[in-house]
Amino acid sequence: MSKYIVSASPHITSPATTRRIMLDVIIALLPALVAAMLLYGFYTLFMAVLSVGTAVFCEWLFNVITRRRQTVGDLSAIVTGLILALNLPPVVPFYVPMVGAAFAIIIVKMLFGGIGRNFANPAITARIFLMLAWAGVMTRFVAPIDLSDGANLFVYFKEALNIDLPAAITTATPFDAVKQALESGANPAEGLSALDMFLGRIGGSAGEVSTLAVLIGGIYLAVRRVIDVRIPVIYISAVAVFTAIFYADTGYVGEYVWTYLLGGGLVFGAVFMATDYSTSPKGGVAVLIYGVGLGLLTVIIRKFGSMNEGVSYAVLLMNIVTPLLDRIRPRPFGTPRVKLSDKWLAWKRNRARKKESAAEGGECVA
């Protein structure tokens, strides 16, 4: 008899377990990881291993110390570690990904209750923490290596411990040029190649430079229905629209739009970080506000902020707003449509009643 499970309806089973979803995300991250390795050599891969290892170890240790059910098996720590490593500059000292992964897992994820209860995306919060902690290390980028000589793959192992990278191997990111162009009023796309930016042959964070690799992963996730495709689509198009609006008076609207779409961590952030289940809203209107808010914040930070890139801050801020957005509830199936004007009248009636009782010395309106 024990083979038969007796339970209340609905009797639907699904192969979509947390583990399977996380495995899909890991698979989707692999193209970006391979691209980073081909562009910057094996040191970037080594960083990813350190980051993932620390993340998994921290989650295991936290569960052991606090005597909770072990959750390492759901693979979410691996995803966090991998996303964090791909968010860092390609060459940073070894302790940076380790501290970042420990911060992401222990402080952002486990202290708030573990998977599904984190208030913000752990990887992105850890990245911001690292930006504040080691601003110098986190804002220097190396040039892609020349793959014609295989020995180049190991070239960055020597430099990694040095906090001051030699000027010869550092490079500017496309956004440095764009920011300068913004100040001088020149053409932002001067000297930038759209093909290089699409393939990733530029300076930038390890995983986000190659838009092509990120898009391959994104399409895989969309086909497997792991992520809510609306979020990246709305986010990226919102960035395009707001860039066009904010830069309308510069005379280089088209150039600004394509550099902004291909240059920074926009596509990576939109596909892998803005879509985190526990920190993105579910309802239709809420998703729209979420995506548009992300785009607006990103463009505002990129244009007016002191930093070049604003994706991580935009995602963090909208993550924090998500609980509010989730209060916008869709109409339950089968209930009558309520006109907006009726809702407004009901609200006004309610308020008048409260005021009356307050005047009588009852509850306070404020």
Binding site: V99, I107, L111, F129, L132, A133, W134, A135, I163
Partner: protein, 278 residues
């Protein structure tokens, strides 16, 4: 708390210890967060702020307690603020004259001691209802608790965020320890406001965890002691009929247990007092 009880049965030291441990203004009452987060960027700044606040706290508690029967109830808050502001101004002038470096480091937070919740709260909750001696002791305890908390937070933040230990200067003398290359590797986030919140939260969590565990241990010990007494109480009577020597042993044991039970009762009382404070 219980340590203070065993050390000082008269309860005067208890008032001071209460401010430092059981009702620590930063970690337990969570008062005065603004100066705590803003000033604890280094241990020396924390110490300076703590001492300044302690001086003001002791003096204002003294005066408020002296005047508690004179001040009309309706205007008591303005009266307290006036008293506190007087002492803050005095401390400010003294610091400006004798420790200008610290005066600059504390900046706006020094005059803001006037509206520091700890000082106002102690005037309102303690000094206006207790005698002069107790009020001064309470001010001292609260001030020391505040100082210790600031120095602890400042030490952690300075070490992680700047790679130094207790760097500062007093007059012409400068002291402190710069740990080799540490400043190059330090995580500057810890001297920023975000690091302040992080450090405060983590230290508070650690303190809560430790005190919860201590409380649990004490409770289980009390329960065990009480159970033992209960179980062995009838023993002297039955044993007395059989063997005198054994009965004597049992009685002395019973006394020991009674002591334990007393202690348990005392601890319970202390806990009640804590609860009342909060």
């Amino acid at each position: 708390m219980s340590k203070a009880l065993t050390l000082d049965p008269k309860g005067k030291g208890r008032i001071v210890a209460n401010g430092i441990f059981a009702s620590n203004p930063v970690f337990r009452l969570v008062l005065g967060m603004c100066p705590t987060l803003a000033i604890s960027t280094s241990a020396f700044n924390g110490l300076g702020m703590g001492i300044a606040a302690t001086v003001v706290l002791v003096c204002s508690n003294l005066l408020v307690s002296l005047l508690r029967k004179v001040i009309p109830d309706r205007v008591r808050i303005p009266a307290y603020v006036l008293i506190i502001a007087t002492f803050v101004t005095m401390v400010e002038m003294l610091l400006r004259k004798f420790v200008p470096a610290l005066y600059d480091a504390l900046g706006i937070y020094l005059p803001l001691i006037v509206v520091n919740c700890i000082i106002l709260a102690r005037a309102e909750a303690f000094a206006s209802q207790n005698g002069v001696g107790d009020s001064v002791l309470d001010g001292l305890g609260m001030g020391l608790g505040f100082t210790l908390a600031l120095v602890l937070l400042g030490f952690i933040r300075e070490f992680l965020g700047a790679g130094t230990v207790f760097v500062g200067e007093l007059g012409d003398a400068s002291f402190g320890l710069v740990l080799g290359d540490m400043p190059d590797y330090a995580m500057s986030v810890f001297v920023l406001p975000a690091g302040g919140f992080l450090t405060l939260g983590l230290v508070m969590a650690a303190i809560n965890a430790i005190s919860a565990k201590a409380e649990k241990d004490r409770q289980s010990k009390c329960a065990a002691a009480a159970e033992e007494t209960f179980a062995e109480q009838p023993t002297p009577a039955t044993a007395g009929a059989n063997d005198g020597a054994e009965a004597a042993a049992a009685i002395s044991e019973g006394e020991g247990n009674a002591d334990g039970a007393d202690k348990g009762a005392e601890a319970t009382k202390a806990r009640d007092a804590e609860g009342g404070d909060e």
